[in-house]
Amino acid sequence: MRLMYKRAAPHGSSKVFCAGVLGFVALVMLAGCSESDPEPETPGTRALVSLVTAEQYRNSLSYIFGPGVDLQVEFAPVARTEGLLANSAAIAGIGSSQLQGIQGVAASVASQVLDTKHRNYLVPCRPESIDGPDEACATRFLSRVGRLLFRRALTDDEVAMHVKQAGSAAEQLESFYAGLEIALEGMLISPEGLFVVERAEPDPENPGQLRLDAYSLASRLSYFLWNSAPDDELLAAAESGELQASGGLERAVDRMLASPRLAEGMRAFLDDMFAFDEVKTLTKDSTIYPEFTRVTAEDAREQTLRTSIEHLLANDGDYRDLFTTRSTVMSPALAIIYGVPAEPGWTPHTFPDDSPRSGLLTQVSFLSLHAHPGRSSVTLRGQALRERFLCQTVPEPPPGIDFSVVSNPDANYPTQRQRVRAHLETPSCAGCHRITDPIGLSLERFDGAGGFRLTENGAVIDASGGLDGFEFEGAVGLGKALRENPELPRCLVQRVYSYGTGAPPAMEARPALDYFNAEFAARGYRLRELLRTIALSKAFSRVQNDPGEESNPEYQEESRISVASSR
């Protein structure tokens, strides 16, 4: 199995695979891995300290306090690492200005939770007097909220500290609820809440190995599947030991997979994988594409997410079919680009069999996001397909490139195909463009806004293209070729595992990825099954380190001595 795994090639030149070889590899892989194959032994991932995302923070607060509390939460953006923003959460920090912003949110949330409108149902008790401290009631409220915010039960000392703070403030402000508000605000900006600190413990079933402790496992599961902190039931399972008892993890994972919250979690994953954060900065030249507005861009993102969730979760569909499906949803703003009618709101829409649209690659989100403001781009589309869906990396262009060769309007070259031919005639460009442009050329019947066209500058567009040895005509052919590309599901597996564990997979994770790939294939490329396989795997819960121990000064000193002696 190790030999069968082919990691995404780091450089473009090695990315054009022979279809026959790939087909053979896929066949061997399918034949070699059956459902009964056990998970191979791997060292697991690193336990991490990660900053929660704004959406995770918002989702968690929404779960704790309900939808009635207004949550305007925005964090500073993080860089994308190996295809995912989630891979950067463990290397993100909070600056002082950002902390001020979070404090503003915390103050607002605390104020709302304890105002007269909300406190009667969000605070589980009534104080003896509203004019001063009430230790018992403050303890009930703060220990309950703190457990959900910090994703673990608070220690007695921690509870006492927060209750004391609430009491002191209540005395000064002569108000029980004002005091509670101060204590809650402090909790909301506590590093314990903003950072997920994964902790390790010895694995009793595998002496010498470490595993996530129950609370850390609960958090990893919850952020993975729901993009939110663990709920009360999952925390209870962690507290009681049920989560790590026999069958406990299966029960917890199955409950989470059956929950409506899974859709929100997978929307977050797909949004990250599709790099839809770039939609926020997507602009089009309004003189060229006047019909493309901010609403169009946001609806395009929403359309692809809704299409994906409907197909993958509601219909339990084959992941690969996302690239050939003609079923989607439509909004009035998008309908203008697609040239179809649409009633207000989101309505189901099926493109007819003779439509040039099928699959995600023909949706406005992909076509417009990977294009220039005023024109299409065969290179950007080809690059995006390889990077987003095949987990390959297309190198940056070498310095000193003369882009006028391809961007200079020349009546002798009315179509993109003719203009980008220069890419292939220039040796420094050809290496990469051979793996991007044939993909993008097959999408040329869609302009930079995603609208369909048959001609460009009066010339009929030739939409023939190629992908890794397959040649085809147009976007429908591209979708079919991509569907059959063995790297397509493998890339999803890599992204899902990476997303769930918070970092790009290390080399030693290859056997686990092979196992996930085989299981994914054996189960019909169903996302829910893949999530289950990964969530239940040892590769998900096993860790190589304990960040808590690593931050211990004694540990650091031991490590220093160890490094010095090895020299």
Binding site: P290, E291, T293, P352
Partner: protein, 365 residues
């Protein structure tokens, strides 16, 4: 530049609007010729711009050599000068003047001179098929143009583009108020460039217009649901023909055309012999709608929708205009009195292609 700005700019110069329109027509004819039949032989358009069609020359030298008419405030000052030393009551002054808006009369002579638009040129259609002395010549040279409303309102600044407040707000409120969502649907179209027999149905829509990225212009391709509940009285079917990309419809006996302002229900005009002359492309329909406008309904609508305060910003005296319209009315005489009840008029319109969804029809293809 938005369509509104474009229209405003174009109305500054009588040559430019029509010259550009002609150029656009020539350009669009090519696309129309290539267009062929729309899907299912049907294509819809929704109104996105409309103004009373006025022929304007620079500085109004040609059509208003005597200057513009005065409005409520100027007339009030003349009638009731502050330095006259006469003590007057509210009833005899302000309320009397206000009453004139709603209890219109031609029994007494207008104490103020009214300046009709002069000249021989106006936009519009030959509604009666005749060429008579009071008719105009169109800027394109067509004789027999009936547009007496042009004479009545051509020298009232509120109606003149691009700065007249009625010109501006009337259009602004059209796209902001779904009551005005007027649509046409052509059916039985074999060729959008030439078809001697098409059916044109008027509807009122329910949905917002779709603006472009600037938020000021409009784009083709939106969707409108037909208002079958409160819009029944606006539904009407006529026959028409398309020649070289220009749709011309047969005159209707009577057509109700929505023209309402925000918060005021029921604003509409009644047209007699209502006709369309529109240049069609797959994305737009531009040109003129024309007919004889019912004078009483015109003034009822005007005064319900546009207060004296607003009329003053543009020197529109409703009482004076009413007298002028009654004097210039040229169609549909009252069978008892013989007095004309309607005045010939034309409206500049721009429409954008829209998918019209009928009740019970799935919007998805």
């Amino acid at each position: 530049m938005s369509q509104f700005e474009a229209a405003n700019t174009l109305h500054n110069c009588p040559l430019s609007l029509r010259t550009i329109s002609a150029a656009a027509l020539l350009m669009s004819l090519g696309s129309v010729a290539m267009a062929g039949a729309p899907d299912g032989g049907r294509i819809g358009y929704v109104l996105t711009e409309r103004h009373w069609a006025l022929y304007q020359t620079e500085g109004a030298r040609e059509e208003c050599p005597q200057g513009f008419n005065i409005g409520p405030r100027e007339q009030y000052d003349e009638l009731f000068p502050e330095d006259s030393g006469v003590e007057r009551t509210e009833v005899d002054t302000r309320l009397m003047r206000e009453g004139r808006r709603f209890h219109r009369t031609t029994a007494d002579e207008d104490p103020f001179p009214f300046h009709d638009a002069q000249g021989t040129t106006a936009y519009g259609l030959n509604l009666d098929g005749k060429v008579s002395d009071e008719d105009f010549l169109s800027p394109e040279g067509e004789d027999g143009i009936d547009n007496q409303l042009h004479r009545a309102i051509g020298c009232i600044s509120i109606y003149r583009g691009p700065d007249g407040t009625f010109y501006h707000f009337s259009n602004l409120f059209m796209y902001g108020n779904a009551y005005n969502r007027w649509m046409i649907e052509l059916s039985g179209v074999d060729d959008l460039a030439n078809d001697n027999e098409v059916t044109v149905t008027f509807y009122r829509g329910l949905d917002d217009l779709v603006t472009d990225a600037s938020g000021k212009g409009f784009v083709a391709g939106g969707t409108q649901r037909v208002d079958m509940r409160w819009g029944q009285s606006f539904i009407q079917e006529v026959q028409g023909s398309i020649v070289d990309g220009v749709l011309t419809t047969q005159p209707t006996d009577r057509t109700k055309f929505p023209w309402s302002f925000p918060g005021i229900g029921g604003g509409f005009h009644l047209f007699r012999d209502f006709q369309l002359k529109l240049t069609l492309t797959p994305k737009t329909a531009e040109g003129i709608l024309a007919g004889y406008v019912d004078v009483e309904q015109y003034n009822h609508r005007l005064n319900r929708n546009w207060t004296t305060h607003h009329q003053s910003y543009g020197q529109l005296s409703a009482a004076s205009l009413y007298r002028a319209m009654k004097r210039l009315a040229d169609g549909h005489p009252d069978p008892d009195t013989g007095a004309n009840t309607a005045i010939s008029a034309a409206v500049d319109v721009i429409m954008h292609q829209v998918h019209i969804v009928h009740p019970g029809q799935q919007s998805a293809d």
